[in-house]
């Protein structure tokens, strides 16, 4: 089943044509990796799915973005409800300057859930899902800034998981982390795929080949090639994909 689909999607920053007619389908409970050189539009494309581009002035969109079959750019869409279903993890770990507990509970409180037992349960479940529980269960009331960078990023994943999204968007989630923390995040992505649809932007070719089922290669605002990851990394059809993956440019 295709949980995300775009049809002939164009995006402009003022006069700049950033995405040029992208049509693509992403299936549920899979990991899809977006790769491509800096400025190719992959992050911009990712941010369409939870409408984070709305925050930037001068952005204009043509075409359709369907999430679970619904056009999320129609006037009927409630952006806050969309963002409850489509979570996001950012490049730099960005926990709030609050306690570990309050970070995970934040999204629940946003959505009006304040029952203590429910919060306790959900915080624990989310931290277990993000493989952080054992490390933080004794310091839930401590500041999130006492955690290491890798732990902070898993905390951000727990925060996204707490409101039970269907899709999780990850914008270079491990690029600011050391190799061990990166490995932990990758393991986590592998686990999460059972219950969630994950779309990940990465600059790391090995990472894309390790964690994803499908890979999309973007170049200057265009979707050049999109296929099973195995095929993309062993036998790409397009020469530019081949060149990028083998490190000949980008």
């Amino acid at each position: 089943m295709n949980i995300i689909e775009t049809k002939d999607l164009h995006l402009y920053y003022g006069d700049f044509h950033a995405l040029k007619g992208i049509s693509m389908q992403i299936s549920a409970n899979s990991v899809t990796a977006f790769i491509g050189p800096s400025g190719c539009g992959k992050s911009t494309y990712l941010r369409l799915f939870n409408r984070m581009n709305d925050l930037i002035t001068g952005v204009r969109i043509e075409g359709e973005v369907l999430v679970e079959g619904k056009d999320i750019y129609s006037n009927k869409t409630l952006v806050d409800l969309l963002r409850k279903d489509v979570g996001m993890v950012f490049q730099k770990p960005n926990p709030f300057p609050k306690s570990v507990y309050e970070n995970v509970a934040y999204g629940l409180r946003v959505n009006g859930m304040n029952d203590k037992n429910f919060l306790d349960e959900t915080v624990e479940r989310s931290l277990k899902q993000s493989a952080l529980w054992e490390e933080v269960k004794d310091k839930l009331k401590k500041s999130a800034y006492e955690l290491s960078g890798g732990q902070q990023q898993r905390l951000c994943i727990a925060r996204a998981l707490a409101i039970e999204p269907k899709i999780i968007l990850m914008d270079e989630p491990a690029s600011a982390l050391d190799p061990i923390s990166t490995a932990k995040i990758e393991e986590l992505i592998y686990e999460l795929k059972k219950n969630y649809t994950i779309v990940i932007v990465t600059h790391n070719m090995q990472q894309a080949s390790r964690v994803s089922d499908r890979t999309a290669f973007f170049y200057i605002g265009e979707l050049i090639e999109y296929d099973d990851t195995k095929i993309m990394f062993t036998n790409p059809k397009n020469e530019r994909t081949q060149n990028y993956i083998t490190g000949r440019f980008g």
Binding site: N50, M52, L55, T57, V79, D80, L81, R83, K84, G87, M88, F90, K92, N94, P95, F96, P97, K98, S99, Y106, G107, R109, V110, N111, S143, A144, Y145, E146, C156, R159, A160, I163
Partner: protein, 294 residues
């Protein structure tokens, strides 16, 4: 490049660096020295006048004897009143300008106006306060008229520091909150404001310092030349420290005799500002700890 040349330029670089830093060090020392000299001057001249009676008694004998209690109380009332007015309004407009207003003509216009407001001489605020609060709104010479006038003066400082404090909050926090489905208002209340609050307090400190020492705005709106009693309501006149200082230093009947009282008054004013600043600083540190940044 031979080694001889490299050594030469290396020596030159070190010498010019030493000269530069020496100059900077001298300048900052000069500032500190100046401050100490001013403070010492006031303390030496004023300490003799300070006594329990001086801060608790009414002025007497043509203001050459007695105390300055009504002026102390008056200044405290005026500072509190002006902050009560300027702080909520200033913080709210700062939030509006930085969090809600999109970049563009309107924002530039409002920012320009606040900057201009900060540049208006305080005597003009005094005249405006007299025209609007004293005469038009018929408050008369009163605490309320003086507080509102001082509040207007403090407003741009509070707005600017609020704006700067909010600007210093990284956008990644806002993004994280929006991505969880939070509205702008929720994000501002629960994430942005708590982070910015310690720095907003700085605005309060700065404006308290400025307001408590201002003479011109209270001249026509509240300050009494000589009024040896305490106010009964916000529609009463009061004496105030900076104006009292001006009066006994220049326009009293016995300027020479009240010289030491003038320095005593200055000392009290400085100490009050110092106490307010220190307690506001403590408040700032307390809130900073509370946001658990580290």
């Amino acid at each position: 490049m031979n080694t001889e040349n490299l050594k030469k330029t290396g020596r030159k670089k070190r010498v010019s660096q030493t000269i530069a830093f020496m100059t900077f060090r001298m300048m900052s020392l000069l500032i500190v020295l100046l401050l100490i000299v001013i403070l010492a001057f006031i303390v030496v001249r004023g300490a003799g006048a300070i006594s329990w009676d001086f801060i608790t008694k009414m002025p007497a004998d043509g203001m050459t004897a007695g105390g300055i209690m009504p002026a102390i109380i008056g200044t405290l009332y005026l500072v509190a009143g002006s902050m009560l007015f300027a702080f909520p309004i200033g913080v709210m407009s700062g939030i509006f300008i930085n969090e809600y207003l999109k970049d563009g003509l309107i924002k530039r216009f409002i920012t320009m106006m606040t900057n201009n407001l900060a540049g208006i001489p305080s005597i003009v605020f005094g005249l405006f306060g007299m025209a609007l609060f004293v005469n038009k709104l018929k408050f008369g010479d009163s605490i309320i008229a003086g507080s509102l006038t001082l509040g207007l003066l403090a407003l741009p400082v509070v707005i600017r520091t609020t704006e700067e404090a909010l600007k210093a909050v990284e956008n990644s926090f806002r993004d994280a909150s929006f991505a969880l489905g939070a509205s702008k208002w929720y994000t501002t209340r629960k994430v942005v404001l708590p982070i910015a609050f310690p720095n907003i307090i700085t605005g309060l400190i700065l404006s308290v310092g400025r307001v408590s020492g201002e003479t011109a705005p209270i001249l026509f709106t509240v300050a009494a030349y000589f009024l040896p009693k305490l106010p009964n309501s916000i529609f009463d006149q009061v004496m105030a420290l900076p104006y009292h200082l001006y009066v006994i230093a220049t326009s009293g009947t016995k300027v020479e005799e009240s010289r030491s009282m003038a320095y005593g008054t200055a000392l009290v004013l400085i100490v009050i500002v110092l106490i307010v600043n220190l307690s506001a600083n403590a408040l700032r540190r307390y809130f900073h700890k509370k946001v658990k940044m580290n």
